[in-house]
Structure formats: C-alpha cells, structure tokens
C-alpha cells in the first residue's frame, strides 16, 4: 500500500465508530430526545460484547449482546426522560456515569482487574477475500473488517427509513412537533421509546466495534468521548444520515492525522485537539442546525 492508501484506510478505521454513533444519535434526536447518553450506551455495548465473546468465543453472539446491552441501558434513559420527564441532559449524564461505573464494577468482579479484560478473539481484516484483488481501492477495502460494511449498510438503510417510509415521517414529526404528532393520532411516547431504543442498539454496535474489532480486549473508558463527538456530528448533519456519515469521515481524517503526527517533533496534544476543535467550530458555524429539531426535549402534554 502506498501512503495515500494507508491514510484512507486509517481514516475509515477511525471513523467507523463515529459513523455508527452518529447514526444512533440521529435516531434519538429525530424523536426529540437529547442524545447525550450515547457515550454511556457505547461503553455498555463495548463491555457487554466483550463479556459475551470472552465466555462464548462467538463474535456474532458478542455483537448481539453489545446491541442488547446498549438497548437495555437506553431503555432506562427513555424511562427517565420520556416517562418521567427528567431533563434529557441530566438523564443522559446519569446514563454515561452508570455505563462507566457499572462496567468498572463488573470488570473487577468478573476479571479481578482494574482497567482491562484478558484478550479474546476479535474481528479480523478481510485481507484474504476477493476485495484485495480489486485495483486501486482493493487494499483500502481489504484493510477493513466486516463491521465497516455493516456500518455503510446502516447509513443507507437509515436514510431510506427516515426519508422514504411512513415510519420515518412519523419519527421526524414527533421530534419536530410532538403536540401536532399527537393530534394526528401518533403515539408519541411509543415513537420516542422506539427512537431511543434504536439509538441504544446502534450505540452498542459502535461500542462493539471498539472492543471487538479495533482491539481484542476491553479497556475501561474505551469510548473516550466518541459518544459526545457522535452526538455533535449527528446534530451538525441536521439529522441527515448521509451528511452525518460524511462529517464522521472528515472527523476520522483528523483523528488519523493526529495519530500519524504523534511521533513528530510538535507536541502530540496539539494534534489531538484538532478533531475536537474542528467539531467545536463546525457546531458554532452550523449552530442553527446543530440545535436539533424544533421539539427537542418537549413532550406532547407539556
């Protein structure tokens, strides 16, 4: 592989969890629920996936458990925010704290270790498939694992679901104006639950990418702020899956630059700031869109 191919491959590798995470956040913010809890759902997904793979040695089962774990903790978020009308950010913060604290506790109980699990199997790159033989883009495509292709499929499906189906229309309507949605007979509470559960499931998948594909062990705090970045990117993209995926890849590019230049003479922290500064500036430039739909945090009976 030449240098350009290496950079592109690394960019894609860095951006897969952000793509999945921003898809998760889009579903949540499209139904008017602040997606601040994404970080905790990611952490839970990563941990549940790791636990399942460690005991069953089956990666697909691990993926399933990551999705279930993320969905389970998002159910708590929905219960707090939708049923009991707790401030969305506050409930998101408690989800984040719970994700970290609970995985730290179970990590200690199960593996008697502070910080990381033992190694296990993980998703491998598709180096030996037909992909590697494609000229030019082959090496880049073969350098990814299967989750990248799942992520792409999810982006396309999300776009179709949100913009081309009646279900997506209802989902968006609940986020824009829950009162109007309620008056035309949409069950807004159920829609919000569906949106938050989808958010948790996809965030769990994003977490699984971290613990089952990027690494072959679980490390505490391995989501490392990616949930927050996903939230911001989902909002900057105006809730459109395609735009959000594009911005995620741009973020991945800066993330990749950061890891390339870490060995250079300049202090590594400056390079690490770049992705966050980029997101911050994007959020400021795009602030009108980045506020999410009009009915953010509102309930139909407020």
């Amino acid at each position: 592989m030449n240098i350009i191919q290496v950079v592109i491959a690394a960019t894609i590798r860095m951006s897969v969890p952000i793509i999945l995470g921003s898809m998760a956040c889009i579903y949540s913010s499209r139904v008017g629920v602040v997606s601040f809890g994404c970080e905790g759902m990611m952490a839970t997904g990563a941990f549940c996936g790791a636990l399942a793979v460690y005991y069953t040695n089956n990666l697909w089962l691990g993926l399933l458990f990551a999705v279930l774990g993320g969905a389970l903790i998002s159910l708590l978020h929905a219960f707090l925010h939708v049923t009991h009308k707790v401030n969305g950010t506050l409930s998101g913060v408690s989800i984040n704290l719970l994700g970290t604290a609970a995985s730290a506790l179970v990590l200690k109980i199960v593996w008697k270790s502070a910080g990381f699990s033992p190694e296990y199997r993980s998703f491998t790159k598709l180096s030996n498939t037909f992909l590697a033989k494609i000229p030019l883009v082959g090496p880049v495509l073969a350098d990814q694992n299967i989750l990248f292709y799942i992520a792409i499929a999810i982006v396309i499906v999300s776009y179709i679901v949100l913009y081309k189906t009646p279900f997506g229309l209802r989902l968006r309507m609940v986020g824009e104006n829950p009162v109007a949605a309620n008056s035309v007979g949409i069950n807004t509470t159920r829609m919000k639950y569906v949106g938050v559960l989808l958010c948790g499931a996809l965030a769990g998948l994003a977490g699984a990418y971290l613990s089952l594909a990027r690494m072959n062990r679980f490390i505490l705090d391995m989501s490392g702020g990616r949930g927050y970045v996903s939230m911001v990117i989902g909002d900057i993209g105006g809730g459109n899956p395609l735009i959000a995926a594009a911005i995620s890849i741009l973020f991945g590019f800066f993330d990749c630059l950061q890891s390339l230049f870490q060995s250079a003479d300049t202090p590594s922290q400056f390079w690490m700031i770049i992705p966050y500064a980029f997101t911050l500036i994007m959020a400021l430039v795009n602030h009108k869109i980045a506020r999410g739909p009009a009915g953010m945090g509102k309930h139909f009976d407020d």
Binding site: F79, L98, A104
Partner: protein, 376 residues
C-alpha cells in the same frame, strides 16, 4: 412599621423541605439496597460491607479527616452544579472548569513568589476562580448570542482543556526532578493550612462551607436569588414581570464556573500541591450526583457531600480488607441521580402496593375499582 423577618419559614415551606428530604433519603436508601443486592450476588455480605465501611470511616481522627477531605471537591462541584440547575441549565462543563482552576492554581501558586502567606492563598484562589468564570461566561455568551447548544460546546471545551493541561504538564511546565508528567510543587505560601495534622484535610473545606452558606443566603434571602428561582421555575411568568432569563443564565453560569474552578484550585493548594494529568478528573460529573442528593440546595449539598465522603473514605477501608471493589460507590452515586431525578419511580412503587391492598377485598364484580387519589 413591621420589621422584615429574616429566615422566616412558613408551614408550607417546611412541608416542601420535608418532602425533598424524604425523596433524597428514600433515593439514597434505595440505591444502597440495589447495590447491596449486586454485592450479594457477587458473593459478599452486603450488611457486613456497609458496617465495615461506616466503621472504617469513623475509626480514628485521621479517618474522619479523610471523610472531610474526600468531601471537599465534591462539595464544590456539587454547589457548582446545583446553582446552574436552579435556572434549569445543566452545566456539563464543570469538569473542564475545575481542571482549568487546578491548572491556574498551580501556575499562580508556583510562579508568584513575592506575596506573603494569606494574600497569596487568596490571590491564587481568586485568579483560578475568575478563570472558571470567564470560561463559563464564554459558553454562556455563545449560548445566548449565537444560540449554540451549551452542552455541545462544554463537552468539546472539556476535551480541549484536558489536552491543553496535558500539554503544559508534559511540556513547558514540567517539573525537572521527577520522571512523571507533572508541574512543580506550588510555593509554601500558597498552600492552605491543615486542619488536622498529617491528613489531607485543609481549610479549603471551611471555604467550601462558607460558599455554601453564602449561596444559600443569596438564593433564599436576596432579590437576585428570587429572580434565579423564578427564571428556573417558570421562565415565561418571570419575563412577564420583567425578569430577564438570559441575564440570569449568565449570572448562574458564571457563579457555577467560579465555584467549580475555585474547587480545582483548592485541590491544588491542598492535598495535590501540583498539577498533573487527570489530577481532578471525574469530580465534575460526580458533582451532579452530589447536587441531586442535596435537592439542588446549597445547604443540602453540604450534607450530601459529607455522606459521599463517608462512602468514599469507607470504601478504601473495605477495599483494603476485602476483595470488594470500591467502584460500587460510583454505582451508588449514579443510582442516586436516577432516583432523585425521577422520584415518581419510588412513588409509583408505593402506589402499586396500595393498589394491590385495595384490590384484594374486591369481591363485588360490578363495583367500580377505587379511583386513584389525585392528591397523592
């Protein structure tokens, strides 16, 4: 002319306060029970654990000092979160503001050499506090003027500040002697004096108490506090009376940033004595739990931070003597936030029990079910 009564508390206010205390107490007990079940499932005795925790926390003078020194940073972040939440703003930037306070405290504490002891201590705290205030003002400015989302900006700034602090501790400010990435120890004149010798408890805790009382006074007895409460409880009603919510957002956010950064500086001037990577990490988000348990009331925060201090100090003992990980304290703290912010969970359980009781003697098939009491 009748004199204005200070601290006059009506029966209605007593009732409301008692209700809040009940919610906090029940939430705390419920969390302890749930985590106790987790401890029990993982093969330890929950009662023994809790007893040895409390015993460990109050074993000696040193361990009681440890309780209060653990409570100190939580007191500050709890106050910072509570005051911002009074105008219904969730200040997730406390983490970054506290870190910058600790960093500025380390810089001013080390490089300012010409001041005597007491002025130096207060000068350091003031500069650190103002730093946090400016950060909060900046976030508030972007929110009010540009309409940006304060949560997004705060989170991104938290990450950026963390890397700036890490850069300074690794690069220009790195101490020469040690191999670890940390700044030089601050001057003796900037250090807070110790309340209990050979412990980490400093006069910083007293400063925290003082600030809690001042904030409680402002909230309950002044016009500003009245406006803050109105803007938080019913923004539209307040604006009808000419109480501008945006101005109060600024003020509450600035107080919040000041208190958070002050807490960071007091950690540097007290137990830590220097700045390093992740020296005050995590306190900001724990403050949310402290504020929630304290019912977002400055005086309540004093008690809740003390309670968490007992839990933390006791968990060290438990962790030393048994194999039970001290992470379960974190889980207790999170469960408290969940229960306090949705007390209806507890009430719905109570209602469910009541329903079952009233449903039992239902032997007449055509009598309607008793309607749930609306006042409860």
């Amino acid at each position: 002319m009748n004199k204005k009564k200070f601290f006059h508390i009506s029966r209605e206010q007593w009732k409301r306060a008692l209700n809040k205390v009940m919610v906090s107490a029940v939430s705390f007990i419920a969390s302890i029970v749930i985590v106790g079940i987790v401890i029990w499932i993982s093969g330890y005795s929950p009662i023994e654990t809790y007893v040895s925790m409390v015993k460990g926390a109050f074993r000696s003078q040193t361990s009681i000092a440890l309780v209060f020194s653990e409570a100190t940073p939580l007191l500050f972040t709890g106050l910072a979160f509570a005051i911002a939440f009074r105008v219904r703003l969730v200040n997730v930037g406390i983490e970054g503001q506290m870190m910058m306070g600790a960093l500025v405290g380390a810089i001013v504490g080390h490089f300012v050499t010409f001041l005597p002891h007491i002025p130096h201590v207060f000068f350091t705290m003031l500069i650190a506090g103002l730093t946090g205030m400016v950060i909060a003002l900046f976030i508030g400015f972007l929110k009010v003027k540009l309409g940006a989302n304060e949560v997004i900006i705060s989170m991104m700034l938290n990450s950026i500040f963390t890397y700036i602090g890490s850069y300074l501790a690794n690069g220009p400010l790195r101490a020469k002697v040690t191999g670890v990435a940390q700044t030089e120890i601050i001057q003796e004149t900037a250090l807070l004096s110790k309340l209990v010798p050979k412990s980490q408890l400093t006069t910083g805790y007293l400063i925290g108490l003082f600030i809690a009382i001042v904030l409680a006074f402002i909230l309950d007895q002044t016009v500003l506090g009245y406006k803050i409460r109105i803007a938080g409880n019913n923004r539209i009603a307040g604006e009808t009376y000419g109480i501008k919510a945006t101005k109060l957002y600024y003020i509450a956010f600035m107080i919040s940033g000041f208190v958070a950064a002050l807490g960071g500086s007091i950690m540097t001037q007290g137990p830590i004595t220097r700045f390093s990577d992740g020296a005050v990490a995590g306190y900001g988000f724990q403050g949310i739990s402290v504020a929630a348990l304290g019912a977002y009331n400055p005086l309540g925060v004093i008690f809740s931070s003390f309670l968490y201090g007992v839990l933390r100090a006791g968990s060290y003992t438990v962790n030393r003597t048994t194999n039970i990980p001290y992470e379960f304290v974190d889980v207790i703290q999170v469960m408290v936030v969940v229960f306090v912010s949705a007390p209806q969970i507890i009430f719905s359980v109570k209602k469910w029990f009541k329903k079952r009781k009233t449903a039992k003697p239902k032997h007449l098939p055509d009598s309607p079910a008793p309607a749930p009491d609306q006042n409860q």
